[in-house]
Symmetry: C2
Subunit: 253 residues, 2 copies
DNA sequence: TCGCTCCGTGCGATATGTCAACAAATGCAG
DNA sequence: CTGCATTTGTTGACATATCGCACGGAGCGA
C-alpha cells in the first residue's frame, strides 16, 4: 500500500514537472529557462522537452518550446474519468436557468478548488471561470465548504503551508478567523462569501455529499453584491441548492 | 531541428501513454488493465502508476488506480500558455449576449477540434461543451473552416487515417464530399453545418486569422434548427462573426 | 577579441525496462 | 468444498537507457 522509492520512475516525474513549468507568464521557454524553472539539469530538461516534442506534446522551433493542445488531452482524460461533471452539468444548467445566476461545482485539490462544471449566466466575475480553473480554497464559498469537511488539524497545516493572501480588502487571512468561519460553516451546512474573492461578488455554497455522507464536491451560485443583505438572499437560494445536492447524493461514490 | 531517437526519455512517453489510457469508459484501472491498454509490460505499467500515485497524479486503493485533479493542472498549464482564450473570451461573452446564441472558439489538433473558449447561452446541444472538449473536425463548422486552411493532400491523408463516422443521418462521411465542402468553405470564407453533429443543431463558423493571414483558430455560433433556411440566418450572423475575427487578427501570432 | 551564456555531446555511474519466475488471488468445473 | 487452470501483483537479474557532470563550440554584445 505504501509506495517505496524503489519502484518509481524519475523520468516521468521530471517530465510532468517540466510541463508544469509552462505558465501564462512563460508560454515559450528555452531549454535553459525550463532547466532553471524546474531545477533539473539542462541536459535532463533538454531530454524531457525533446521527448515531449517527439510525441507531439510540444512544439519546437529550434530555440523555444511551446506546449501543444495535445497536452490538454491529458487533462480532459482526467475530467472524463470523473462521473461528477456529467452528472451535475444538466442540473447546473437547470439551476442557473431558474435562478438567473451562474452556478458551479468544484472539488478540492490541496489548498485550491478546481472547477469541474459550470453554468455561466451573466458575467459578474472579471475572470472567466471554466472547468479546470483554480481558486484558493480559503476565500471561496466552495472552498470553505470543502475545508469545513476536513479535520481541523489538517486545515491548520494547510494554512501554514500556503499562507492566505488577501484578494480584496474583505478577504480574511488570519488562520484563526478562517477556522472560526469553518466551524460556523460546519454547523450551518453552507458557506457565504461576501466579496472576499473579488469586489462586488458574493456567493453561497453547499457541500455535495456522496452516498456515504462524505463531502466530495461543492456547489455554489454567484451573486452581484447589492443592497439586500447576503443572508437574506442566501435564504432564498438555499432550498434550490439543497435540492440539487439531494439529487446528486445517491449517485456519488 | 530534427529529433533524434537518442535524446528522448522512454519513461516520460510511457507515463503519458498511461495517463491517456484512462477514459470515461475506464476511470478505474488495475495494473494489468493499464498494461493491456497501453501495450506496456505489467512491471513497467506498475512503475508508471506508482510514480503517478507517489506524486499525487493518481490515487491507489491497493488494487485500482484513479487519476486525481492534479492531472488537470497539466491541461490548464497548457491552456494558460495560450493567449487566445484570454483574448477572445470577453469578445465571445459580448457576441453571445448580443445575438443570444452560444459561441465558441476552437483550434485544430490532428483530426479533432479542441474548444479553447466558449460562451454558453441556451442549451441546444445534448452534451456540455467546455474548454478542452473535443469534437471531430470533419463534421463541425469550426473543423471545416480549419481543415479548409490546410493543403488538400494533408486533409486527404487525415481522412484516410481517421475515417469519418456518421453522427446523424445528415453527416457527410465520403472523403470526396467533404473535400468538396472544404473547397466551398475556402471560396466563401465561412462554413455552415446543418445537423451533421447532432440533430436539431446548426452552426456557422469563420476562421480567426493571425497577423500573417494564417487560420490559427475558428469562431462559431450554434443555432437551433428551425424553419428559416440556414443560409438566411447565417447572412444575418456573419457580420458579427467577422467583426470579432477582425478585432482579433492584429493580436494573434 | 574577450567574456558571457547557451546549446549539444561524451562518459562513467546509476536507474530502469524487459523478461522470467513465483506467489497470491480468482475463477471454474465437478 | 476441492482441485486445477488462469490471471494478477510482485520480485530478482541482467542488459540497456538515462542522469548528471564536465567540456567544447556557437552565438552575441561590448
Amino acid at each position: 500500500m505504501t509506495i517505496s522509492e524503489r519502484d518509481t520512475m524519475g523520468g516521468l516525474a521530471k517530465g510532468l514537472l517540466v510541463i508544469e513549468t509552462f505558465t501564462a507568464d512563460r508560454p515559450r521557454q528555452s531549454i535553459a529557462e525550463v532547466s532553471a524553472a524546474s531545477g533539473l539539469d539542462r541536459a535532463t530538461a533538454r531530454r524531457c522537452l525533446l521527448t515531449l516534442a517527439h510525441h507531439g506534446y510540444a512544439d519546437w522551433d529550434g530555440k523555444f518550446f511551446t506546449l501543444t493542445p495535445r497536452v490538454l488531452r491529458l487533462g480532459t482524460a482526467c475530467l472524463a474519468t470523473m462521473p461528477l461533471p456529467q452528472i451535475v452539468q444538466p442540473l447546473l444548467d437547470d439551476l442557473s436557468d431558474r435562478i438567473g445566476q451562474s452556478s458551479s461545482v468544484s472539488i478540492l485539490d490541496g489548498a485550491e478548488i478546481v472547477y469541474v462544471a459550470r453554468a455561466a449566466q451573466r458575467k459578474v466575475m472579471s475572470i472567466a471561470l471554466m472547468p479546470g480553473s483554480r481558486l484558493p480554497a480559503f476565500c471561496t464559498s466552495m472552498g470553505r465548504v470543502l475545508l469545513a469537511a476536513l479535520p481541523e488539524a489538517e486545515v491548520r497545516e494547510m494554512l501554514a503551508a500556503h499562507p492566505p493572501v488577501a484578494r480584496t480588502s474583505f478577504t480574511r487571512t488570519e488562520p484563526e478567523a478562517i477556522l472560526a468561519e469553518l466551524a460556523q460553516v460546519r454547523a450551518q451546512g453552507f458557506a457565504l462569501i461576501d466579496q472576499e474573492v473579488e469586489l462586488g461578488l458574493q456567493s453561497v455554497a453547499v457541500p455535495l455529499l456522496n452516498m456515504h455522507g462524505r463531502a466530495v464536491a461543492a456547489l455554489n451560485v454567484g451573486l452581484a453584491a447589492g443592497p439586500t443583505p447576503l443572508e437574506t438572499t442566501a435564504e432564498g437560494l438555499l432550498p434550490a441548492l439543497r435540492a440539487v445536492a439531494a439529487e446528486t447524493r445517491a449517485v456519488l461514490r
